[in-house]
């Protein structure tokens, strides 16, 4: 052993070199003795991670190695080594990389810092307590301000709501009675007129037909509006929803349609014990409305229509409407698709009367109706690439 080797092996510090394969290629006697291994057990056999605690191992692979590789060196890295008899030695390391033609070596020098480590441990504990107190203090103050703000916002919303409610009742009355009555009369008078066919010429008869046609359009519109509007007065009854049973019922509702298959794929069972809580009646209305819509606007060249409904669980931010609020919870996602080019290829707006979807010149409230139900059940609705997605969140009672 020459003079330099002597210093390398006996100096009171840890010398360690690692190959690009992560294997230990060089280590000094002083370090080896502390670790309790023999030279043969270590050189070319152990990877550096095998000498570290598990936390150190992860930290080395995720932080230290990438850092050294990118920056060529890293200083004052704390890692805990494990001796052969599983004793921990806290070590402070300086690390650098040396490149060769084909590969590289990583050199480390370390100092054991057991006593300093104890002191640091105390510092960390103290800092944690201080940070926690500070944080809690901050949180309490923030929570109080937030609560005050929310209370005010709630009051404002309640006021608008009660105002809207009285409008709602008024509107319902108008829709179900005041507007229906004159319409009924137009109907009666028109039939009276057309009853006197012999006295009328063709021109007048044609006009009467047009009056019939227009008034029936208005009636449909009114019925739709009333149906849409009456959703507001529905109370939500939460129960555990058995999707398969529900869709079975829906299938029976649609069994009268020729050349139609409804396929249901349930993938919600992947999460044991998770059950969707919703309102069976509202969901039924949702399914019926949407399926009728898909059937009504299917592309005419399709001879046989298959509508696929699949259900899965997806993590979704429940604060869809609140800015910068995040809470990811399991939600029920229903995906509707049908074969061929379908009505969701063009992105509908889900507005009350979506004029872009006027396929047979009738105004259709179906999608707005569906959207309203989804919203009542704390969800969102959207279309993408020919599929319709309805995501239902959890509902707080």
């Amino acid at each position: 052993m020459n003079e330099w080797q002597n210093v390398y092996h006996k100096a009171p510090g840890y010398f360690l070199s690692i190959s690009h394969e992560n294997l230990i290629v060089r280590i000094n006697d002083f370090f080896l003795n502390e670790l309790g291994f023999s030279r043969d057990e270590v050189i070319g056999r152990l990877r550096v991670e095998e000498l570290l605690t598990v936390g150190g191992k992860i930290f080395f692979q995720t932080h230290v190695y990438p850092l050294v590789k990118m920056k060529r060196s890293a200083n004052e890295i704390y890692l805990s080594f494990l001796t052969k008899d599983k004793r921990e030695i806290p070590v402070l390391l300086n690390i650098s990389i040396e490149d060769f033609q084909e590969n590289y070596e990583i050199h480390c020098i370390g100092l054991p810092i057991s006593r300093r480590h104890n002191f640091e441990q105390e510092l960390i504990e103290a800092r944690k307590i201080a940070e926690k107190t500070l944080q809690e203090n901050k949180e309490v103050i923030n929570a109080r301000t937030e609560l005050e703000r929310v209370k005010k916002a709630l009051e404002r919303q309640l006021r608008t709501l009660s105002q809207k409610n009285s409008h709602q009742i008024e509107l319902n009355k108008v829709l179900s009675h005041d507007l229906q009555e004159p319409l009924r009369k137009i109907g009666i008078f028109s039939s009276m007129l057309s009853g006197q066919q012999d006295n009328l010429n063709d021109k007048v008869l044609e006009t009467i037909d047009k009056i019939f046609e227009s008034s029936s359009k208005v009636r449909e519109l009114l019925d739709g509006l009333q149906r849409y509007n009456s959703l507001d007065s529905k109370n939500i009854e939460l129960t555990e929803v058995d999707l398969s049973a529900l869709i079975q019922k829906i299938k029976e509702n649609f069994s009268g349609f020729p050349n139609l298959a409804i396929v249901f794929e349930d993938q919600t069972s992947v999460l044991d014990g998770w059950r969707y809580q919703g309102d069976n009646n509202l969901l039924s209305s949702f399914f019926r409305e949407l399926l009728t819509y898909i059937i009504r606007y299917k592309k005419s060249q399709v001879d046989f229509l298959t509508i696929k409904i699949s259900a899965d669980i997806i993590k979704s931010n429940v604060y869809a409407e609140t800015k910068d609020q995040y809470l990811y919870e399991n939600c029920l996602r229903l995906t509707f698709s049908s074969d061929g080019e379908n009505v969701f290829q063009s992105t509908p707006t889900f507005e009350l009367f979506d004029r872009s979807q006027l396929l047979d010149e009738k105004m259709d409230i179906s999608l707005a109706f569906c959207k309203k139900i989804v919203q009542m059940l704390n969800g969102t609705i959207s279309t993408q690439a020919g599929k319709l997605y309805a995501i239902f969140g959890t509902i707080q009672q």
């Binding site: 936390g55 932080h63 850092l67 060529r72 004052e76 640091e120």
Partner: protein
């Protein structure tokens, strides 16, 4: 909106080609870690790199604890970028935890993704009944402890250290950029979101071509985990690399590039002409 997302996530776009490669870094790093592999692909692909909020050069003010306390918030970063750049059918390349983040994003919006390359994926790090993730709960507490100790006193140890490097002056500029996340609280949160996640049930939902690259002796995502992932993702291609460790794209870039190219050429043969 677009500009602010690109700014927020420090999105950088390079290369040229019909297809787009979106590369997502793992826990503890930032987009710089891809630098050894991207030159090989820049002639044939448009390459998009980014930093998750809270990492690298991202806008740290956009960090919201609630959002980033689970991997879903990180997946939202990926989706935001896809949306902002109007991406379709991208080749998503994820390292480590980004494989799961990419999966979550795919499940939300499959339209954005065409295929996935997963480097060292793990759907769950903690052992469970009939599942070997490689770690126990207490191991991860130990990791948080090590991280704490690396931040005390020299809180910014990961931040730039100005060093003289006369032999390679081009490195000096890089040294001035911070490499990893420098905020200990954010890094802790990211560690928690990563190592306490369990996304095993999501694997079967991935129905696009997937390549899984598994390193030999990976201390973070062991062989058994990679194997589990490949069995759960139907039709995925599983490759055991000669490369060791957890970052083959840094330690063994040539081998990593070779496997990626083979996979991509099989998938998109048009590129060969």
């Amino acid at each position: 909106m677009t500009a602010s997302i690109l700014d927020r996530n420090n999105v950088t776009i390079s290369g040229q080609g019909q297809r787009t490669m979106l590369m997502a870094h793992g826990f503890g790093c930032d987009q710089n870690m891809w630098r050894y592999v991207i030159p090989e692909f820049q002639n044939e692909y448009r390459i998009i790199l980014f930093d998750y909020v809270g990492c690298g050069q991202s806008d740290i003010n956009s960090y919201k604890v609630d959002r980033y306390s689970t991997l879903d918030g990180y997946a939202q970063d990926v989706l935001d970028i896809c949306k902002a750049l109007d991406l379709k059918d991208v080749i998503f390349v994820g390292h480590s935890v980004s494989c799961v983040i990419g999966m979550l994003a795919f499940i939300q919006n499959p339209e954005f993704f065409g295929s996935m390359i997963m480097i060292g994926p793990s759907p769950r790090y903690i052992n469970d009944k009939n599942y070997v993730g490689g770690f126990e709960q207490k191991d991860l507490e130990d990791l948080l402890d090590v991280m704490d100790k690396n931040y005390i006193g020299w809180a910014n140890f990961l931040a730039p250290v100005v060093m003289k490097n006369d032999e390679r002056p081009e490195l000096t500029k890089e040294l001035e950029e911070s490499f990893c996340s420098t905020d200990p609280i954010i890094t802790r949160q990211f560690a928690r979101a990563t190592f306490f996640s369990d996304n095993r049930s999501d694997l079967s939902k991935i129905d696009i071509p997937v390549l899984i690259l598994q390193c030999a002796d990976d201390a973070i995502a062991p062989d058994s985990v990679g194997n589990y992932v490949s069995l759960q993702i139907k039709g995925s291609k599983f490759i055991r690399m000669e490369a060791t460790g957890h970052c083959p794209h840094m330690s063994h870039p040539q081998e990593t590039i070779r496997h990626m190219e083979t996979f991509l050429y099989e998938l998109y043969p048009m590129h060969q002409q």
